[in-house]
Subunit: 207 residues, 2 copies
């Protein structure tokens, strides 16, 4: 998105410039949340991070609440979109199981999840924010579950896959949380491998 | 602890009174973090919550940093202690597997975990806090892993248990995070049952 914003010249229509400014502000908000935490995501701080004047930022987001709400929508759209990307060329057998698990884990280990975690923590004590998040989270959870089941069982014939996908996603969320304070990738690879082996074994037994 | 504090009369030695005041302040800090989030855990707000004068609170914790540090130690001591309680009368077979998984999940679904989550979120953008947390978290992780492996495999003979315990604890952490914004207990029970079944099946195959 940054590249898009940079490529936009002075002659672009006002509407397009406005859309790009908004996009830059939202990207900067997600970046601020993920890197510097909840308190860093104010309109003024985000405007500075995005290289946007405070006036322009306030035109788009008059209050912190409106900024956070829009950023949340962006966060969950990004996460839901990541969970919806076409299956493309899926490998077969155990490699397919591994690919499905890797995709689930990726949903919870990137910058967008780290930003979401800050909003979750803030929402734990903010009922209004919680009401805003829950339906978005629900939509994301369904998309993530659909992605995982369809990767694990493209034919949609194995009744055990529903629960296995749930365990996979809860495990992925736990691995994501473990990665927030230090790089947990080496340990995570072992846990993922152990889980992939168990899923492969479970799916190979007749149902 | 509240009962202990209430039972303490005016004639108790000064040292004991001081210890109880400190304990009440730390309990109130954990309660504040879990219920009202990071920003609510200041010395003044915690003193009020604990029913302790601001002067007395500042005697124990002159700065917010000293309060948070002590609360963190308390949080991880509580979590490590929960993970260390004697196995007592362990059931056999599948019931033992279920008991082990339930215990792991309990570590991540109580008030203390919700308080810890607030500190984790704050530490994501606070290197000093992160340095403080990491060794405590490491100690807790080892205790939790020891508890889970020894419940799953009391004889210590099954080499697969090491990894299965890791998956169990990462899954439990993910379930804990899913429970912070809404009551997830019904869905969680299904996920836990599915996982318990997979663990039982895995441990029943010869190794």
């Amino acid at each position: 998105m940054t590249t898009g914003a940079r490529a936009a010249g002075a002659r672009e229509p006002q509407q397009e410039r406005s859309r790009l400014t908004r996009e830059r502000l939202l990207d900067a908000t997600i970046d601020a949340l993920a890197r510097d935490g909840w308190s860093s995501a104010t309109v003024a701080a985000v405007a500075e991070r995005a290289g946007v004047s405070r006036g322009a930022a306030q035109h788009h987001f008059p209050t912190r609440e409106s900024l956070i709400t829009a950023a949340l929508q962006q966060i969950f759209e990004d996460m839901t979109e990541s969970a919806s990307v076409a299956k493309a060329e899926l490998p077969e057998g155990d490699a397919r199981v591994s690919a499905a698990i890797d995709r689930a884990v990726e949903l919870y280990t990137g910058k967008v999840f780290k930003a979401a975690l800050q909003v979750w923590a803030a929402a734990a004590s903010d009922p209004a924010l919680r009401r805003l998040i829950l339906p978005m989270e629900d939509k994301f959870a369904h998309a993530a579950h659909r992605m995982t089941t369809s990767m694990l069982d493209p034919d949609g014939t194995d009744p055990r896959v529903h629960r296995i996908a749930q365990v996979t996603l809860d495990l992925a969320r736990g691995l994501g949380l473990a990665d927030t304070l230090s790089d947990d990738s080496a340990r995570r690879a072992q846990v993922v491998a152990a889980w992939a082996e168990m899923v492969s074994a479970a799916l190979q037994t007749p149902h």
